[in-house]
C-alpha cells in the first residue's frame, strides 16, 4: 500500500508534476478568497481556477503516471485519453461558468464562501478524471459531491434551502454507499489501484478472491453511489430541484460537468464482463431516457426542463455503459465518454443561456433562440452537428430493439428542448444589453459542442468520418427530429394550443411525495398530531430517542453504574475463561 521511496523534497510527486498542480491550483485560488483585500471581489478569481487543467487537456501529454506517496494513502494520477477529454471539457465549462459568474453575480450573498466552495468543487470534479487510485478518487468525488452543497444553497431562499437539504442528504447517502462498495473491493484486492479493484469485482470465486455475493453487493453499492450523481432514475430527484435553485453559473457546472463525475465513476469502476449488471444498466438507462422526457415536458421552469433533459441524456449514456460492460466492449465505454463530452458542452451552453435570455431582445434575442435551437438539434443528433457524431459513436454498442430505442430517443430529446425553446421565447427582457462576459461563454460552449466532436472523432472512433455521410445515418439522424417537430406542431397548432395540459408534476417529481411520506412515517412512529409547529418539529421527530433517554436516566445512579462495572468484570473473566 505504501511506496517506500521518498523523494528528496517531502511530498514532491514522482512523475509529471503538472497533473498534481491541476488539483492544487484551484485549492490555492479558493484559499485566496479568504484573504482580506481579495475577499471583497473574490468572484473575479473564479476563471483562474480551471486554467492549469485546461492547459493539461490541450497539451494532451502521453499517458503517464504521477505518484505522491506521502499524500493521502499514496496518490496516483493518470492522464489517459478518456480522462483527459472529460478533464478538458470540465475545465472549459468551469472556465466559461466562472467568466459568466463575474457578470451574472454582481452582488452575491456570501462571495468568499461561494468562491471557496466553487474552487473546492472544481478540484474534486477535476480529480475524478485524473485519479487512478481508489482513495484519491473517493476524496475527489466527495469533494465535488459535498462542496457543491454550498453552490446549491447559495441563494438562501426557502426553495434553495429545501433543494440543498435534499441534495446533501442524498449526497451523504451516496458517499456512504460508495465507501462501503469501495472498501469491500479494496479488502478483496488488497490494493488501492482502480484497475485492481475492477478485476476483483469479476474475479472468479476461489482462494483469495471475493465471495460472489460480496462482489454483487460492491457492484450494486457502486452503481447506487455513482448513479445518484449521474441522475440515474430513480435516484435523479435531486437534479430537477438543485439545478433551478442554484445560481445560473452553478447550474451550468452542475449539469454540464458535475454529473459527469458519476459517469466517469461508472466507467472506471464497473468491471467489464458483468453481463447482468450491464443489461440492468441498459434497461434502466433507456427507461430513464424516456421517462425523464415525459416528466420534463410537464415542467414550466426553464432550468427544471433542462435538468430533466440531462436526466434523459445521462440515461442514454448509462445505457451505453451498460452495453459496453455486458459485451466487454471498451470501445463502447470510450464512446460513452465521447457522448458525455458533447452533452457537457451543449448543456452548459443551454444553462448559461437561461441568464442571457433575460438580457437580450430584438436581433440578439432571435440569434440566441436560433443558437439554442441549433444546440437542441445537436443534442437530438441532427446530421452535421457535433451531436450527430456523438450519437453515431454510441450506436454500435446496441443492436435490435435497443438500437431502435436509442435512435427514437431523439424524438424525446427534440421535444423537451423544443419545450425549452418555447418557454425561453416567453422570457421577458429586463435589460437590453447582454454583457460580453455572459454572451461570450455561451457562444464558446455552443461552438465547442458543435465542433469539438468533429476534431476528436478519430480519437474515439476507428471508423472513417465518411460513414456519417451515408444515407442510412442521415435518415436516422433526421427522422426523430421531424417526428418531434410534427408532434410539437400539432400540439401548438391553433386548435390545440393551450389546451393540452399535462399533469402538474412538481420539480423533482418523486422527491415531494417521498418527503411527505418520510414525514408521515416519522409522525406515525412518534404519534404526533399532524399540524406540527415548525420550531418544535425537530424535537418531536426525535421522540424515537426516548428509550435511550430513559436508559440514560437509569444508568446515572451510581448504584446501577457501579453494579454494571462489577458485572462487566465477571463477564470479561468468564468470556476469557
Amino acid at each position: 500500500m505504501m511506496t517506500p521511496e521518498t523523494a528528496v523534497i517531502p511530498f514532491w510527486p514522482q512523475g509529471p508534476v503538472w497533473p498534481m498542480l491541476v488539483l492544487i491550483w484551484p485549492l490555492l485560488i479558493g484559499a485566496l478568497a479568504g484573504v482580506p483585500g481579495l475577499r471583497e471581489k473574490p468572484i473575479r478569481l473564479l476563471p483562474l481556477a480551471p486554467l492549469p487543467a485546461l492547459l493539461l487537456a490541450l497539451a494532451r501529454p502521453a499517458d503517464a503516471t504521477t505518484q505522491a506517496p506521502d499524500v493521502l494513502l499514496g496518490v496516483i494520477l493518470t492522464t489517459d485519453t478518456l480522462g483527459l477529454t472529460l478533464l478538458g471539457m470540465t475545465a472549459a465549462i468551469w472556465l466559461a461558468a466562472g467568466l459568466y459568474a463575474i457578470a451574472y453575480m454582481k452582488a452575491p450573498r456570501k462571495p468568499a464562501v461561494f468562491t471557496g466552495f466553487w474552487c473546492l468543487t472544481l478540484t474534486g470534479n477535476l480529480g475524478v478524471f485524473l485519479a487512478a487510485d481508489a482513495v484519491t478518487f473517493y476524496v475527489s468525488f466527495a469533494a465535488v459531491s459535498l462542496a457543491a452543497y454550498f453552490l446549491v444553497v447559495h441563494d438562501g431562499t426557502p426553495k434553495a434551502l429545501r433543494a440543498a437539504r435534499i441534495y446533501i442528504a442524498l449526497a451523504i447517502f451516496g458517499e456512504a454507499m460508495l465507501l462501503i462498495g469501495f472498501v469491500i473491493a479494496i479488502a478483496g484486492s488488497d490494493s488501492l489501484a482502480i484497475a485492481d479493484l475492477r478485476a476483483t469485482l469479476t474475479a472468479p470465486a476461489g482462494e483469495g478472491t471475493l465471495h460472489p455475493a460480496a462482489q454483487g453487493l460492491a457492484i450494486a453499492l457502486i452503481i447506487i453511489g455513482f448513479g445518484l450523481k449521474a441522475g440515474l432514475m430513480p435516484l435523479h430527484l435531486w437534479l430537477p430541484l438543485a439545478h433551478p435553485a442554484a445560481p445560473t453559473p452553478a447550474s451550468a457546472v452542475l449539469s454540464g460537468a458535475i454529473v459527469k463525475a458519476g459517469i466517469i465513476g461508472l466507467i472506471r469502476f464497473l468491471p467489464e464482463g458483468a453481463v447482468d449488471t450491464g443489461v440492468l444498466l441498459m434497461v434502466i438507462g433507456l427507461a430513464s431516457a424516456y421517462i425523464a422526457v415525459l416528466l420534463g415536458l410537464t415542467q414550466s421552469n426553464l432550468k427544471a426542463v433542462l435538468a430533466y433533459s440531462t436526466v434523459s441524456q445521462m440515461g442514454l449514456v448509462i445505457a451505453v455503459i451498460g452495453a459496453g460492460i455486458a459485451a466487454s466492449d471498451p470501445q463502447a465505454l470510450l464512446a460513452a465518454g465521447y457522448y458525455a463530452m458533447h452533452h457537457g458542452f451543449a448543456k452548459a451552453a443551454l444553462f448559461l443561456s437561461v441568464g442571457l435570455l433575460a438580457v437580450t431582445r430584438g436581433g440578439a434575442r432571435i440569434a440566441l433562440l436560433a443558437g439554442i435551437a441549433l444546440l437542441g438539434a445537436s443534442v437530438a443528433g441532427l446530421p452535421g452537428t457535433g451531436g450527430a457524431l456523438a450519437k453515431a459513436a454510441v450506436k454500435p454498442a446496441f443492436d435490435g430493439f435497443a438500437l431502435m430505442l436509442v435512435t427514437a430517443s431523439g424524438i424525446g430529446t427534440s421535444l423537451i428542448l423544443l419545450r425549452y425553446l418555447v418557454l425561453g421565447a416567453r422570457v421577458e427582457t429586463q435589460a437590453p444589453h447582454p454583457p460580453a462576459l455572459m454572451a461570450g461563454p455561451v457562444i464558446a460552449m455552443g461552438l465547442c459542442a458543435l465542433i469539438l466532436p468533429w476534431i476528436l472523432w478519430s480519437v474515439f472512433d476507428p471508423r472513417p468520418l465518411g460513414y456519417l455521410a451515408g444515407v442510412g445515418a442521415l435518415i436516422d439522424g433526421i427522422w426523430p427530429i421531424l417526428v418531434a417537430l410534427l408532434i410539437a406542431g400539432i400540439a401548438l397548432s391553433p386548435p390545440l394550443a393551450g389546451r393540452i395540459r399535462g399533469p402538474a408534476i412538481p420539480e423533482g417529481d418523486i422527491a415531494a411525495p417521498l418527503e411527505r411520506g418520510a414525514i408521515r412515517l416519522i409522525r406515525a412512529v412518534t404519534e404526533m398530531e399532524p399540524p406540527v409547529p415548525q420550531a418544535h418539529e425537530w424535537r418531536r421527530v426525535l421522540r424515537v430517542i426516548a428509550p435511550a433517554e430513559a436508559l440514560e436516566r437509569r444508568l446515572l445512579p451510581w448504584r446501577v453504574s457501579g453494579l454494571v462495572i462489577l458485572a462487566l468484570i465477571i463477564v470479561v473473566a468468564l468470556a476469557s475463561a
Binding site: L72, L73, L179, E552, G562, I565
Partner: protein, 496 residues
C-alpha cells in the same frame, strides 16, 4: 548524555516543572505555560526525529533494567500520542490565556487552572512513555485527580456533582486496575510490559487480573455503559478544560488498554472478550449519537459525540482478533483505531474550544442563540465545520483515514458488521452536527443581541487544531508509517 535521554527528560519533566512553577508563582501562569509549551515541543520534536530515524527508543530509568526498574519506551504509538498531546495542549493553553489570565490580584480559578492543566499534560506524557503497569497506575491517578479537579473548577453545584460522579467511576476504575496489577505481579514477579508478555497466561488467575484491568480502564474510558458521568462532566467544565477532558483524558486509559492487550497479554484475549468490547463500542456509538441528536446545548452535543466516538475506538478489539488469525489487516484495524484516537483528540478539542469562544460571544451555548454566529465568529465556525468533517469521517480528514482503515480491516476479516456501524456512525455524526452548523450559517434573528467580539488570534487556535486533523488525513502516509515503528506483533498477527 544522549539526545534521546534529553528528549525524554524534557517531555516528562517540562510540564511538571511548569506546574510546580505555576503553583509557586500565582499570577505568571500564561508565561509559564508558554515556556512549558516551548520546552515540551522541543523535546517532542527531537523524540519524533529519533523515532523516525532510529526506531523505537528504550530507556531504563535510573539505569535499572527491568524487572527491577521502570522502563520508558517511545515507539511510534507513543510518539504519535505525545505529539498530538503537545499540539492539542498548546492550542488549549493559548485559548485559555485570556479567561485564566493572571491579573493584578490572584484569583482562585486563574491560580489553580495553570498548574492543574500542566500536571494533566505531565501525567499524559508519563503515561504515554511508561512501560510499567504500576508506574502507569501512578500516572493514571495523577491524571484522574487533576481531571476531577478541572471538572469542578467552576464550583457550581452541578459541576461539583459532575466531578463527584466522575470521581466515583475513576476511583472504582483505579482500584480495579490496581487489583489486576497486584495479581499480575504476584504471579509473575514483574510489571514490565515487555517481560509480562513472555509470562502472562501461565497463571490461571491472569484471567481475573485481565478482567479487573479491562473493567477498570473501560470505566475510565467512559465506554458504554460507564459513560453516564461523561456528558455532565465534560459539558460543565470551562471550555479549555472540556477540551482536555474530552480530547485527551479518555485516550490515556484507552492507550493503556491497548498496551495491555496488544503487548502484555495478547494470548489472553478470548473471542468472547473481544466481541464484548466491540459490541459495547457499537452500542456506545449508536446510543451516544442518538442522545447527541437530542441535546439543545452545544457542549452537550459535543460531549455525547465523545461517547459515540470513543465507542468505535473499541472496534479495534474484534477487528484485531477473532477467527481469521494472522491476517494482515489486523494492522489496519490497529492503525485505524490509533488514527481515530489522534484525529478525534484534535477535532474534539477544537470543537470544545470553538464552543468556548461561542459562549464568550453570546454568553451561553443554547442552540437557538447560535443563529447566524458565523457573522461574528467566521473563523470559529469554519474551524467547527472542519472539525465536524473529521468527526463525520469525511475525506480527506484523519477521521476518514481511520474509518477507511478500520472498514477495510472489517471486510477483510469477514466481519462487515463493524464496517456498517462505522458508516452508520458517520451518518449519525452528520445528523447531529448538521444542526449547530446549519444554525451557525443561518440568518440571525432581528432582535438577537449583538455577540461580543472575540479576537482573531484566539480564534486561530481551534482552527489550527481542526486543520491539523484534516492534514492528518491529507498527509496520512507519513503518520501511518510512523505509528508502525515498534508496532507490537499482535497488531499484525491478531489477538488470541
Amino acid at each position: 548524555m544522549t539526545a534521546s535521554a534529553l528528549a525524554l527528560a524534557l517531555i516528562l519533566t517540562a510540564p511538571l516543572f511548569g506546574a510546580l512553577a505555576a503553583m509557586l508563582m500565582g499570577r505568571r501562569g500564561p508565561a509559564i505555560a508558554l515556556a512549558t509549551i516551548i520546552a515540551t515541543a522541543a523535546g517532542t520534536l527531537i523524540l519524533l526525529v529519533i523515532i523516525a530515524t532510529e526506531g523505537a527508543v528504550h530507556l531504563a530509568i535510573g539505569g535499572w533494567e527491568a524487572p527491577l526498574g521502570i522502563q520508558l519506551r517511545a515507539d511510534g504509538l507513543a510518539g504519535g500520542f505525545i505529539a498530538t498531546t503537545a499540539l492539542v495542549m498548546g492550542a488549549i493553553l493559548a485559548v485559555a490565556a485570556k479567561p485564566f489570565a493572571g491579573g493584578k490580584t490572584e484569583r482562585r480559578s486563574a491560580y489553580t487552572f495553570w498548574p492543574l492543566a500542566l500536571l494533566l499534560w505531565g501525567a499524559l506524557n508519563a503515561i504515554f512513555l511508561s512501560g510499567d503497569l504500576f508506574n502507569l497506575y501512578v500516572g493514571l491517578e495523577l491524571l484522574t485527580l487533576v481531571a476531577v479537579a478541572l471538572v469542578g473548577i467552576e464550583g457550581k453545584r452541578e459541576t461539583l456533582a459532575a466531578a463527584l460522579r466522575y470521581m466515583m467511576f475513576a476511583l472504582m476504575g483505579s482500584l480495579l486496575y490496581l487489583l489486576g496489577a497486584a495479581l499480575l505481579y504476584a504471579a509473575h514477579g514483574t510489571l514490565d510490559i515487555a517481560l509480562l508478555a513472555e509470562r502472562v497466561g501461565s497463571a490461571p488467575g491472569d484471567i481475573v487480573a485481565a478482567a479487573a484491568i479491562t473493567g477498570g480502564l473501560a470505566a475510565k474510558t467512559a465506554l458504554f455503559p460507564f459513560h453516564a458521568w461523561l456528558p455532565p462532566a465534560h459539558s460543565g467544565a470551562p471550555a479549555p478544560a472540556s477540551a482536555m477532558l474530552s480530547g485527551l483524558v479518555p485516550k490515556a486509559s484507552f492507550y493503556i488498554l491497548l498496551r495491555f492487550w496488544f503487548e502484555a497479554a495478547p494470548d489472553l484475549a478470548g473471542s468472547g472478550v473481544l466481541m464484548l468490547l466491540g459490541g459495547l463500542g457499537a452500542f456506545a456509538m449508536v446510543y451516544g449519537s442518538l442522545l447527541a441528536l437530542h441535546q439543545d446545548r452545544l457542549k452537550l452535543i459535543i460531549a455525547y459525540s465523545t461517547v459515540a466516538q470513543l465507542g468505535y475506538l473499541f472496534f479495534i478489539f474484534p477487528l484485531a482478533g477473532g477467527e481469521s488469525a494472522a491476517q494482515p489487516w489486523a494492522a489496519g484495524a490497529w492503525s485505524g483505531a490509533i488514527f481515530h484516537a489522534l484525529s478525534h483528540a484534535m477535532a474534539k478539542a477544537s470543537m470544545f474550544l470553538c464552543a468556548g469562544l461561542i459562549i464568550e460571544a453570546i454568553g451561553h451555548d443554547r442552540l437557538p442563540g447560535m443563529k447566524g454566529i458565523v457573522r461574528a465568529l467566521p473563523m470559529t465556525v469554519f474551524a467547527f465545520a472542519l472539525a465536524a468533517i473529521t468527526l463525520m469521517g469525511l475525506p480527506p480528514s484523519g477521521g476518514f483515514t481511520a474509518k477507511y482503515l478500520m472498514m477495510t480491516a472489517s471486510f477483510a476479516a469477514g466481519q462487515p458488521f463493524w464496517a456498517l456501524m462505522l458508516i452508520l456512525a458517520g451518518l449519525l455524526a452528520a445528523a447531529y452536527l448538521y444542526r449547530p452548523l446549519a444554525l451557525a450559517f443561518a440568518l440571525p434573528d432581528e432582535d438577537a443581541p449583538a455577540p461580543k467580539a472575540v479576537s482573531r488570534a484566539r480564534q486561530f487556535a481551534p482552527l489550527a487544531l481542526a486543520l491539523a486533523a484534516i492534514l492528518l488525513g491529507i498527509l496520512s502516509a507519513a503518520p501511518f508509517a510512523f505509528i508502525q515503528i515498534g508496532r507490537p506483533g499482535a497488531a499484525v498477527e491478531g489477538l488470541e
